[in-house]
Amino acid sequence: MKEVGGYLTPDGRQIGGTLMEMRNITLRFGGLVAIEDISFDIHEGEIRAIIGPNGAGKSSMLNIISGFYTPSAGEVWYKGSKRPAMKPYEVARMGVARTFQNIALFEGMTVLENVMTGRLTHMHAGLLSQAMWWGKARAEEIENREVVEKVIDFLEIQKIRKTPVGRLPYGLKKRVELARALAAEPSLLLLDEPMAGMNVEEKEDMSRFILDVNDEFGTTIALIEHDMGVVMDISDRVVVMDYGKKIGDGTPDAVRGNQAVIDAYLGVAH
């Protein structure tokens, strides 16, 4: 793997070296090419956005990162080594957590229980020990609850700690999803359209939390987003996709001035 150094953001944050690198990724579903030969990298500590019009292949790309899809061709490099084809839970164990575009929480469980599920990859006690609430399982539960409570505090959802998720409004559910992902203490956090369907205030809140997470925990964040305004405001670097191809890559300002990007978004007479 080629050694890529970090860089300094305009607001003075030091971004680390490469955390993940996608090399010449292609994804085919039968005859349909969803992603065609795309390469980009994600640096440690940065907020990296993947944007593009509908059907550009953004979600597919995220699904490759999270291990849900295996690319038809190309390599995924993570923390300096090539990642073999993996099941999503194996990827999760390697420190990659995600949220979903269409909220995927356990509606009947409380917020606390939902966020606790984010700790599953950190629990090692056996079934018997867990069932009997004894020994290792008990110590583990306390330890994990502590992490979860810190996340709850961080995202300011103390008030709904014991509320069943099904009763929450949409914007809060999104925040609970973020909490669950954070509870896993990921080194790479994937956010699939975190602002989708939100009103302006909820978007502002979510943006603030994303920035705070990155700032406080130094978590690397890769996000897909439709809302160009939000993306340009909070991301350090942006990958632009269109029809499965990469058409731009760089800082928000550079991407905004890119003709191919403007065409993709505004349409162009062919």
Partner: protein, 657 residues
């Protein structure tokens, strides 16, 4: 009394009380705070260590005797400690309202010339940074919660924990100086400066001495037999004198435990978990709780509703008598017991009021029906009447002499005098020293003999010796025909209806009264949902004809009730409108303690007042609103004006007087 000159039992300051508590009750809990979902607690001994460490750290930063140190944030042990640590250094803590807008904060910081600010979180830090350019004396800010502050310029900014750490490290070096400073305060030195929210004009800095606070705490703790083992929930603004007396004065005097909620939003859950034995809430909190109970009961099953109605009827008849120790027949007692098991007990538990031994409400008059509801449940809710200038207590109700229409007898050590014009004056050991940098106002309020004008009109009831407050002295007026006009009296009756959040009655110098009404969004929203009335916004709901019909019904019932009072029957509401926005402190319409600012409302909505007195059936208006972040916007609305039925009164001029 010689001993008073020395300070009560030789204890002349809050830090001295802290020392005593750490010695005598070292292992008892002094503070609890829910954090990370668990109640964390600190004993008096641990509290003293925390406070000393902070004081040493502040000493190192250069906090000098007589300095003012501003403290901004919601109720947290660390902030209470900060206040005591500041006192330990011979400096004066100045707690500020956390929800105050930047310009209000700026006014106070400039006025008191605070060199140091201790702020709870990023929100407060941002606010101070925004105004610090205007405060030339400002030196250092200390923050509690580091979240979001990592990237801030830390030249004049530091974390609370770090200051404490420095203090711990320098204990050997600075310990002697701290001991010297601790021994310094005299009984008449300033203990705390509290800014009054001010229903009129700019806030005034009320300076309260150690004598004021400690004598008051001692007398009032004795009045209600407060002792170690009491539990209180600290959730009211730290800048408010009541919180200072309850959570610091009385808590340090009696040595009881102060519990801080996890966040302002979780207060109700935390209240339930703590179940305080000594509880204070403004009438508004009781009103809101009652509204919520009523809403939930309406949604409950038929059986539960019937049970509730039946037993509440029993409770209203029997409960207050049992509380007051009056004779109650055996069958009634048994009936009430059964109710306790089936209804009152579970209800009190849900409200977090199961263990309340002494409960107080003050600040505004409480609706008799609301007051009686809680008394009926067996909660010893009482009223007190107080002011910042009095270190809270002027009058309070002794156990067994509780009524909804009085505010009680003079508190221990307080003298009361009613002036010619009906204004209440008092004199007590709790009377404030002066308004900071405002000799004129001090003279206007406090005379040479120490009598303080309350600004409230009232009278002492002959038979019981209890004080009754009618209204603000300046609000009590006369109508065009000379009839007595006391708006608060009518407003309180209106506000008893769960659907009405706020009411403003006008009519001084006019021939009849009119009113602005604010609907309660929770109650009316729930009502609308049940009757499938669709609405998209507060404004739309407030203007809905069915809502207006409902409110009109309430107004007419109030008119009927007002008509029965000979003195005030002229105050019936002839016309009213439902406002298109909630009255808000951010727009200056209410004080931070949510009292109506009549003059400002009258001026701001002059067009609406005019329309109410004119014949129009509707009026178009534009109103400026201020958002929480200080931005401004305008809302436009066309409001319907309704005529309310009034009960004709044949008044033989003003009765007697």
């Amino acid at each position: 009394m010689a001993i008073l000159a020395e300070g009560a039992e030789g204890l002349r300051s809050i830090p001295a009380l802290l020392r005593r508590n750490a010695e005598e009750h070292g292992a008892d809990p002094a503070y609890r705070e829910k954090e990370y979902g668990i109640w964390q607690s600190w004993t008096w001994a641990e509290t003293e260590e925390e406070i000393e460490s902070l004081a040493l750290g502040l000493l190192d930063l250069g906090v000098g005797p007589g300095d003012f140190v501003a403290v901004i944030g919601h109720n947290r042990p660390c902030l209470y400690w900060a206040m005591v640590a500041v006192q330990m250094l011979g400096a004066v803590p100045v707690p500020l309202y956390q929800d105050a807008a930047a310009d209000e904060t700026e006014y106070v910081l400039v006025h008191c010339g605070a060199r140091f600010v201790i702020a709870a979180d990023q929100e407060q830090v941002d606010k101070v940074i925004e105004v610090q350019a205007a405060c030339p004396q400002f030196e250092e800010m200390i923050y509690l919660d580091p979240k979001g502050l990592r990237k801030y310029d830390h030249t004049h900014l530091r974390a609370y924990r770090d200051v404490q750490e420095t203090g711990r490290r320098l204990r050997g070096e600075l310990g002697a100086e701290l001991a010297r400073r601790r021994a310094m305060p005299g009984y008449d030195d300033i203990c705390v400066m509290l800014y009054t929210s001010g229903t009129t004009g700019k806030p005034k800095g009320v300076m309260l001495s150690n004598r004021n606070i400690i004598e008051t705490a001692k007398a009032s703790a004795g009045f209600d037999h407060l002792q170690v083992g009491e539990e209180v929930l600290a959730y009211l603004p730290m800048a408010w004198v009541g919180d200072f007396i309850f959570s610091i004065g009385q808590a340090y005097w009696a040595g009881f435990c102060v519990n801080c909620p996890e966040s302002p939003e979780t207060m109700m859950t935390d209240l339930r978990e703590i179940a305080p034995s000594y509880y204070f809430a403004p009438p508004r909190v009781f009103e809101t709780q009652l509204t919520q109970i009523m809403i939930r009961m309406e949604d409950a099953s038929a059986l539960k509703r019937r049970l509730f109605r039946h037993f509440m009827a029993v409770a209203r008849r029997v409960g207050p008598r049992i509380l007051d120790g009056k004779p109650v027949s055996v069958p009634d007692r048994l009936h009430y017991r059964l109710g306790e098991v089936l209804v009152y007990g579970p209800l009190k538990n849900t409200l977090g009021l199961s263990r309340v031994r002494v409960g107080y409400t003050a600040g505004e008059a409480i609706g008799p029906e609301i007051f009686d509801f809680y008394r009926a449940l067996g909660i010893n809710l009482k009223q007190l009447y107080g002011q910042t200038e009095a270190s809270v207590f002027i009058t309070q109700q002794p156990d067994g002499e509780v009524r909804s229409d009085t505010v009680g007898v003079p508190s221990p050590g307080v003298e009361i005098r009613i002036a010619e014009n009906g204004e209440v004056f008092y004199r007590s050991p709790g009377v404030f020293v002066e308004y900071y940098k405002n000799a004129q106002s001090t003279r206007d309020t406090k005379d040479a003999e120490g009598w303080v004008a309350t600004g409230d009109a009232g009278f002492i009831e002959e038979e019981s010796g209890h004080l009754r407050i009618i209204d603000r002295a300046k609000d009590v007026g006369a109508m065009a025909d000379g009839a007595l006009f006391a708006p608060k009296y009518v407003e309180n009756k209106l506000k008893f209806y769960p659907n009405i959040l706020e009411a403003v009655v006008m009519g001084a110098g006019r021939d009849r009264c009119v009113a602005f009404i604010n609907i309660d969004l929770t109650a009316v929203g729930n009502w609308a949902e049940r009757y499938t009335i669709a609405y998209a916004s507060y404004q739309e709901l407030a203007g809905h004809p069915s809502v207006l019909d409902m409110i009109q019904g309430h107004v007419e019932e109030v008119n009927a009730s007002v008509a029965q009072d000979d003195m005030l029957s002229g105050c019936q509401v002839h016309r009213f409108l439902v406002l298109h926005k909630e009255l808000d402190a951010d727009d200056g319409e209410l004080t931070r303690t949510r009292k109506v600012r009549r003059k400002i409302i009258g001026e701001k909505f002059a067009d609406l007042v005019e329309a109410l007195y004119g014949g129009a059936e509707s009026v178009y208006t534009e109103t400026e609103v201020t958002y929480e972040d200080g931005r401004k916007g305008r809302i436009k609305a066309t409001l319907t004006i309704r005529d309310a039925r009034v009960v004709p009164v044949t008044r033989g001029r003003m009765a007697a007087e």
